[in-house]
Amino acid sequence: MCKTINSKELDLRFVVGRRSDSPGMKEAMLRGVATSSEGIAYLEDNIDKIDIVFDATSASSHAEHDRVFSKHDKFVVDLTPAKLGELCVPVINMESLKDSRNINLITCGGQASLPLAYALKNSCEKVLYVEVISSISSDSAGIATRENLNEYVETTEFALRKFTNAEASKAILNINPAVPQVCMQTTLYARCEKVDIERLKSNVSSVVKKVKEYVPGYSLVLEPLVDSGSVTLAVQVYGSGDYLPEYSGNLDIINSAAIAVANFKSKVSDAGSRAVAIEEGLA
């Protein structure tokens, strides 16, 4: 939401939720953005006043919401693991999705790991297996995240296969309550054929640079370890700390991806830039 307010390309018109006392709704009111706690019904009544929808609710809610968006042919950036639309990681495939109506941002673990997985795919003959384990802080894991762990795992695994052509994949999410809160950390393990180590290092370093352009707190903390066909590497993700705390890199990376997609969309099409964010918990 703050990123939408700060974006030069976007014009945040409403924040819509289910509870007027949720942290996101309160923050929106404080910042003078119009809010409604009547959820999708309010949105449908005002559908002509918006061009872009950010859906940060839950996978099952998004499935209901998208019936409305689809009926009105509204462009939506889906931040839930519903995977109804085209899966997107900005540094990998955003440009190819300029005509898609619904863009799905997979999961936070997906946004953190897929750039690395893609760099690996371009550095070896074949990715056989790819696995991603992410740790996030307890405070940054909202109710929707906690209820959507099954979808988180399924959608992350699906995207890992899709973007690397690996036959098998595995995703794991750990929630750590340590105080002070820990920042997001994501480790990628893979098995592949004929990996070119120098090429891998250079591909990883250049993709990390590209992600940094929209998520400044994204950095490599474990350089690729290569042991015959096995590869391990890890990144940490700090957030920008504009409204959510810095440790919540998991929220920052998916929110930043959403803004990148919306900015791109409003630039390449004449779709307009009036945006709305729908949320259930933290978003």
């Binding site: 740790s135 906690r146 762990l149 929630i175």
Partner: protein, 336 residues
């Protein structure tokens, strides 16, 4: 009090898998289940050490896949109930569906001790199918009794038939166990189970303290076979409960052959308390990290005790092996 009934949940074929990098074979699972079933164990838990869907590079690739492990166990558990361990974020609902299909009886849905709300959805999912479900609080030394009660109450409200407190680091002493179990027992009105580890040589004592404070089920493993310095030794805890006059479906004399079988055919090295286990126990690190911390520290040429201290200061929960790797690599880099 002392004539109350105690159920024993035997997790040799699940926690024990941690001790041998998840390499239990089909034959070992079949034979052990047959013997444990004959001995009258109430529940036999089977699977990868971290539960359903956990076979992975991060946690270790299991020799036998979940479906095969559970099918083999199912064929050999006639009287004993078959149990699984499941952590949301590690396993998927499709793994639960597979377990239901095979006929698993007891589902233990686990989270770190302060994150109980991640278990609500799988608990509700299983209760809607009328399954026996326990909520499991891992690393229970990291929360006080009041917080554990809050988390356990949430699990109960979601439908859990009982609560398992796990001392996953082997950190606790009998006084801590008594306090925590009493609070849950007095306030919840559902079965409380205790799962101890032996890092400080207190697993059997802690299990007794738990039962004396209201627990009606304990987790134990044959010869203590389990992560780190192992679990509550099944044969020993059953012998003590017999002497105290608690009622159980299993008898010590029926465990003798099972113990011999496990010694000869499953347990390559009987768990003992190594310095590293005391170190992880005192620092409250997950007991299963012991072997891995040692391996990684030797791979990177860094001091094992300093690595433990750094991991403890990062307050690692269970299943964060990847962070151990990253911390060791960071230490190695700084040392150059």
């Amino acid at each position: 009090m002392k004539n109350k009934h105690i159920s024993i949940s035997d997790c040799s074929l699940r926690d024990g898998n941690h001790a041998i990098k998840h390499q239990l074979s089909v034959e070992q699972i079949a034979n052990y289940c047959k013997g444990a079933d004959r001995a009258g164990l109430d529940i036999i838990e089977v699977g990868h050490g971290y539960g359903l869907g956990a076979s992975s590079s991060a946690f270790g690739v299991a020799k036998v896949d979940d479906e095969t492990m559970l099918s083999v166990a199912r064929e050999n558990c006639k009287r004993s109930k078959l149990g699984i361990h499941f952590v949301p974020g590690v396993g998927k609902h499709s793994d639960l569906d597979m377990a239901i299909e095979i006929g698993v009886d007891v589902f233990r849905i686990a989270s770190h001790c302060t994150e109980g709300n991640i278990t609500y959805r799988p608990i509700q999912y299983l209760k809607a199918k009328d399954k026996m479900v326990y909520g499991v609080l891992i690393m229970s030394h990291m929360a006080d009794a009041k917080r554990l009660l809050k988390e356990a109450s949430g699990m109960k409200a979601a439908g859990a038939d009982g609560i398992v407190l796990m001392d996953s680091a082997g950190y606790s002493t009998p006084d801590i166990v008594s306090e925590k179990v009493s609070v849950l027992y007095e306030n919840l009105g559902i079965t409380i189970a205790y799962h101890a580890h032996n890092n400080l040589g207190l697993a059997v004592a802690n299990s007794i303290a738990a039962v004396e404070s209201g627990a009606e089920m304990v987790d134990a493993t044959i010869k203590g076979f389990g992560a780190g310095s192992g679990n509550t030794q099944l044969e020993a805890v059953v012998a003590v409960f017999e002497r105290y006059g608690y009622k159980m479906n299993v008898k010590f004399k029926d465990l003798v052959n099972l113990s011999l079988y496990a010694e000869n055919s499953i347990i390559s090295s009987v768990p003992d308390i190594k310095a590293i286990n005391i170190m992880t126990g005192m620092h409250g690190l997950f007991t299963g990290y012991g072997t891995y911390v040692q391996k990684v520290s030797s791979d990177f040429g860094v001091d094992v005790f300093e690595l433990c201290e750094r991991l403890a200061s990062r307050k690692l929960v269970a299943s964060q092996e990847d962070i151990i790797l990253e911390e060791a690599s960071k230490m190695a880099k700084k040392a150059v």
